[in-house]
Subunit: 243 residues, 2 copies
């Protein structure tokens, strides 16, 4: 099982730990459950259980202590029918991907329409909208020059029209580009300013930019978090120099 345990992905430094054990040949029902136990024994942070397998999610939710975030439901009918009852039963929160039976949205309007659909269906299933986190789906800027503008507009509109939390695989933006942390940091500042609340990104490298953005937006009283993080980085750099 050692091979499989190595697949446990923990985003160090993140405020929520995304746990994804998917790989060919993995018994994810067993492994996701074990991963939840190991992480919850080790770290005091909420987890995001990330699996396309409903059985694996259900097994993991049975042992999870507290309120989990489940990744994910989509706007596809089969997904809504399969996942929403589970989310309701375990009282967890859920990430809603803006794709549906017609596939991945090509423009802002479709993203927004699918977000509306997911939130409506969740509420009908008895899940309050504050437990739905919309994933706006980010694609590489290297493949499509409108990739950034479309998502920025979708974030603004979804926040305005639905008021839900918003997540994304933020680092996708820089896929295939050099100096990815530079792009990831700029993108983080822009999407947080637009209304994104839960970024999946390279936390270790992008954290300073995120804290600077919070500071600029008036969300860091007396710059306490920004300055504390700066001191930590400075101490780490000094220790690295000594070693």
């Amino acid at each position: 099982m050692l091979r499989n345990e190595a697949l446990l992905q923990v985003a160090a430094g993140a405020d929520i730990i995304d746990c994804n054990v998917n790989a060919p040949g993995v018994n994810d029902v067993e492994l996701l459950t074990r991963a939840v136990k190991v992480v919850q024994e080790t770290v005091d942070a909420p987890m995001c259980l990330d699996s396309p397998n409903k059985d694996a999610l259900e097994a993991a939710l049975k042992v999870y202590k507290g309120k989990a975030l489940v990744n994910s439901v989509s706007g596809e009918e089969a997904s809504l029918k399969r996942m929403l009852p589970l989310v309701k039963e375990y009282g967890c929160a859920v990430i809603g991907l803006v794709q549906d039976d017609e596939g991945i949205p090509k423009n802002t309007e479709r993203r927004i329409a699918i977000a509306h659909k997911i939130v409506e269906r969740a509420e009908k299933a008895g899940i309050p909208r504050e437990d739905v986190v919309i994933d706006v789906l980010v694609f590489p800027i290297g493949a499509e020059a409108k990739a950034g503008l479309d998502v920025l507009e979708a974030i603004r509109r979804i926040r305005e029209e639905l008021g839900v939390n918003i997540t994304m695989g933020a680092s996708n933006m820089s896929f295939g580009m050099p100096d990815r942390p530079v792009i990831n940091a700029a993108w983080a500042s822009m999407v947080i300013n637009a209304g994104a609340t839960v970024l999946v990104t390279d936390a270790a490298k992008v954290r300073p930019a995120i804290l600077a953005t919070d500071l600029i937006l008036g969300r860091d009283r007396f710059a306490r978090r920004y300055i504390a993080d700066h001191r930590k980085r400075e101490q780490a750099a000094q220790q690295a120099q000594k070693a």
Copy 2:
């Protein structure tokens, strides 16, 4: 005169070179003129002539080749009356500071009202609004938690209502804070996304973030500028390692 020549401030790497020779005891009428000549003989970039002294500006404009940017006029009556005829006469562009006889604006509405006043008065003086660049005035986030939000809102509204170019002393945001380039980069991404077009900032350090922001906003076809700048940085780093 050597002492004074050292005062010539050139923002290396910037697309516009701001030239400011102000210091106690300086004969700025003579020195600003000399500085314009030296810079224009050396560098192929437009200049911003930065002086509170109308005589120094006029002397410099007489020798300036091309269309200069003048820094600045404000919403104060004396300033409008003194500067606008000069701007009109020399056909240059001008930076309009959003402050007036009541002082520095405390909120967004006042910033916007003063921007309207400057653009209206410029147009009455025969200066087209495309030659007016509004400076929204940035204050340190360390002194006032609303400093960032106020300016972001002012930028959006001024772009929407007046459609003019927008500048600012962008690095003021991080004054007094540690790791200033981190804050300056985050702030640059946010204000460019909001509509700012001409930042006065630490160009050498903030340039990668600005190019990443342009890339994300679909303003860098095939990522050519971003990748070219990355290669330059990489080569510079390799040469520094060899030396």
